[in-house]
Symmetry: C2
Subunit: 573 residues, 2 copies
């Protein structure tokens, strides 16, 4: 059986930084070549970052991408890596926009491409056939679908090249390629993390390998990009679906594997591109298989990576957040410290006249345990003049406190360049239990995709993880166990306004994430009155939420972005 030594480089691109990403690919090529690799594949759009959204409509951007690919081929040769076959994902264009009458805003002018580089030039180019346009994906907006297949003959090994969604389609390219009898299917991907992705992605890869009767090599990108976190987890399975190599999650890695490739049948498909691989010396490599950790660890690592990349790729020197003594801000502070180091995290305790003693002491305690920078800024004397001049009462007075806190935090942001983190969780944001321009203010929302019940689990896991490694658990036990409260009036708790979180969270999951109707949720066994209360809160809050941004969240739990609903609408189903 012929054998190929394939390197899968899961890299962390910076979106739009074509030169920097190109350097990253060159470094990976160097490391792959040192390990004797014959083929190197990097992820979907690894040259540009993913998703590129409306940059796809800029002809100047697409020309720069194409030029960068051609330069990369030359630079590989200049470094003595010309024999290495490098498969690189990038937006390709500009292409002609098609078929729209009149002088209209053009449709997509780019393709989502994989270029095959060797000997200083592009030897073949594949354009993605299937464009996902659901959940977080908008590729019909950005790309023109490709129509042709690309099959490589690499020293007698027949390799089919696919891109991401191509693999997901039943009766799609894998089935279409059956007659070409590839020995290896190589897919480059930009596949975001979600809590249960493990249960979907690996079985899919295994199923397609068996369908194709071929080995399958799957390379993903890694890193945070706004709402999304790409987790890597690149892997190789054999034709029976058995995992033969697997990269770690949430970090850059070059996975080099010897792949036994089912021998190519004599009848090569007409468009086959023949490439001569470099020769590999030495022994067969010992394959490495990294198993993912428990789900809380995966989610935690996703939140840390998403936060780190948002802060660093946007070149913020530091972050600031309000520390209330409650669980949400405590978890956000620890995520931030894990992401960028405690000395770049500035926390401010902002006690009002309604704040309890434990709010202050729990915040103090957390700051000390984690070693973040910490100050206290009482707001009573800032709130009173406004409350009195405007004669505020009720909810308006409660909101005022949250808004004065936002003013203090944004002032710190403006004075020192900190990014303001907003610390709301998915449950409270879904039902609108927050103040517009108050606690919802902030440029980045680390736990906005995390339901409250999972926030507690993550806190517990993080403390246990620290203890297990002989370190101080960062989160004070009291922040985990005390009843949650906004403390905007005396003796307030969340459950004055909301059902218990163990009831609320599954109803939110059914309504917001799984898109079930009211009747269907009641049929799951929930009280009809509670369901209709929750649904009313959500419908109202989605409308309200549009009044005040919360910044990107990290999609670490549910797959997909928040629902995109009309603001102006009368829900009736």
């Amino acid at each position: 059986m012929p054998r190929l030594r394939v390197a899968l480089a899961q890299l962390n691109p910076v979106l739009g930084d074509l030169e920097g990403n190109s350097d990253r690919i060159l470094d990976a090529a160097q490391r792959a070549a040192e390990q004797g690799a014959q083929v190197l594949a990097v992820g979907e759009c690894a040259l540009s970052g993913y998703p590129i959204e409306d940059l796809a409509g800029r002809a100047s951007f697409l020309r720069a991408c194409r030029q960068q690919v051609e330069e990369l081929a030359v630079r590989l040769t200049e470094r003595g890596l010309g024999e290495l076959i490098v498969i690189v994902g990038h937006p390709d264009g500009p292409h002609e926009a098609s078929g729209l009458a009149g002088d209209r805003t053009p449709s997509a002018i780019a393709q989502n491409a994989a270029s095959v580089l060797q000997h200083g030039r592009v030897q073949a180019r594949y354009a993605k056939h299937h464009l996902p346009n659901y959940a977080v994906f908008d590729e019909y907006r950005t790309f023109i679908p490709g129509r042709d297949h690309v099959v490589l003959d690499i020293g007698g090994c027949r390799v089919a090249v696919l891109i991401c969604e191509d693999l997901w389609r039943d009766a799609g390219p894998v089935a279409e390629l059956k007659n070409a009898k590839p020995g290896l299917v190589l897919t480059i991907n930009a596949s975001p993390f979600e809590r249960d992705k493990q249960q979907v992605r690996l079985p899919l890869v295994q199923q397609r390998a068996r369908e194709a009767n071929a080995s399958l090599a799957y390379v993903n990108i890694v890193g945070g990009q706004d709402d999304l976190v790409f987790d890597g987890d690149s892997l190789v399975v054999d034709a029976s679906g058995t995992v033969v190599a697997r990269a770690p999650q949430f970090e850059e890695h070059v996975l080099v594997t010897d792949i036994d490739v089912v021998e190519a049948a004599a009848d090569a498909p007409p468009a086959t591109v023949t490439l001569e691989p470099r020769t590999v010396g030495g022994d067969v490599l010992e394959p490495t298989i990294n198993e993912p950790g428990p789900v809380e660890q995966q989610v935690w690592n996703a939140l840390v990576l998403g936060t780190r990349d948002y802060v660093n790729k946007n070149r913020f020197p530091s972050v600031v957040l309000g520390l209330s003594g409650g669980i949400d801000s405590a978890v956000c502070a620890v995520i931030a410290a894990d992401a960028i180091g405690a000395d770049r995290v500035h926390a401010i305790s902002l006690p009002s006249r309604y704040s309890s003693e434990h709010s202050r002491t729990d915040a103090d305690e957390l700051a000390e345990r984690v070693g973040i920078r910490y100050s206290v800024e009482p707001i009573a004397d800032l709130v009173s003049p406004i409350e009195q001049q405007l004669k505020l009462s009720g909810v308006a007075a409660e909101n005022l406190q949250a808004r004065v806190r936002a003013i203090v935090l944004m002032a710190a942001s403006n004075m020192h360049g900190h990014l303001l983190l907003t610390t709301g969780n998915k449950s409270e944001i879904s039902v609108g239990y927050s103040t517009i321009y108050g606690d919802s203010a902030g440029g980045f929302a680390p736990i906005r995709d995390v339901p409250k019940s999972l926030v507690w689990k993550l806190a517990t896991w993080r403390n246990e993880h620290a203890a297990a490694h002989g370190r101080t658990p960062p989160i004070p036990e009291n922040s985990i166990t005390k009843p949650p409260s906004a403390e905007l009036r005396p003796d307030q708790t969340d459950q004055d306004s909301l059902p218990p979180y163990e009831v609320l969270d599954p109803i939110l999951d059914a309504y917001v994430t799984r898109n079930l109707g009211v009747d269907e949720i009641v049929a799951l066994g929930y009280d009809a009155g509670v369901v209709s209360d929750v649904v009313r809160l959500v419908d109202h809050s989605e409308w309200k939420r549009r009044q005040g941004a919360i910044g990107p969240k990290i999609s670490a739990v549910a797959f997909g972005r928040d629902r995109r609903l009309p603001i102006t609408y009368r829900p009736s189903q």
Copy 2:
């Protein structure tokens, strides 16, 4: 030549209010029948409103739509309108989502349909073939494309039914239907207004009529839906492209026209649905042709309609806005008064220690001329305690003033239920010349799609329009002529930070709206240094803007929503 009496009802649906929209269609059917119409067509998704965004993924919503269509057919018959042929646009489903492996978030499960109702039931149903997925459209996210054509034989008149984008495709359905030889092409549409739409839509309709050698009836919806304004402007052209009837813009209207239909050839296409029309008595109707007004008037009316529908469909009792004495807030106040009446508009003057005398007097003057509710709330005593406790200076101190104003306005919103209007224009928002959680705070942004130079033109047009009708020009001349200033420090003007608006606006148009690269803009004749300054400001502000929402704007000028760009990215082209 056979003749059909066709009613085109351009209705203003409330999104999701299926019963209310159904009532609207019934009323239109009544009026159409009274004028002897044989066929009534209403716009695309007139039963649901448009765009429905992720409501398309709710099976319960789609079942409710389908049920409402069936009930509408019955209710028409019950009212004695069973013979009237009614063509109604609605989302249809749930359909099977297709071809995605694994237990994934489903793709679209709806079609964008036109149902043909007569005698109490659905006689035929067409599903839109071509799904726009550019600019403001996301239909690949929401709909499954249809594949079949529907041709009706109505008393010997052969009528082809299409939906919106189907008409825009070169070599699309109009060409495909050539062999069916329809005498009338009837398209139902949800086509949003933009400044130059007149120059595109009418010529397209004329061109397709000539291509089909058929009369063409085009019915649009009307009304505001979040960012979008649908302008109606429904029309009928004959086979030579000559306009024979045209509805007014920006209002509901039932346009009833006798259409001479080219006789159907003998060879009916196989899937033709034959319907017997009711008989028409009396004389041939005199056709009505409404010509659109000048462009400033169209834009003004679009802004007024968009604001009115946002306020009323969302059931806000009233609006509030800060009145600075400058042109932007003056124009927004007049738009609001035109939209919902002066007594529902609450304006607050918020002078600081840097405010000039004319800021106050120009605001007073405007409030008096327009008759809106008006109060003055000085902010100096609210700003000082914060500035002193936090020791703020520079931009942080400037932003503080804007944020305290937002607190005052949001307090009024929370106390009285007003919707807060934010008054920024497209030029300043594009370059980030505003304060997050300050002047950018607000639930709706009437002029966010209007460049500053057009704001002045609109103000001048509105004053002249008032004078021409013997009314007081609403906007004080001084607000139009004085140099624009944020007044956040002594003697500040916009041009301390920005190029003159007559230079800035065309560069913004080239970069943001037309997606040109830096080199291409310089090649248009602009100074390279100015272009690169502006581009840097825009890139920075798009990133900054994501930190604080501004609420929906009205797309009244450029076609399309704001660019959707990654937040985390390094622009290099």
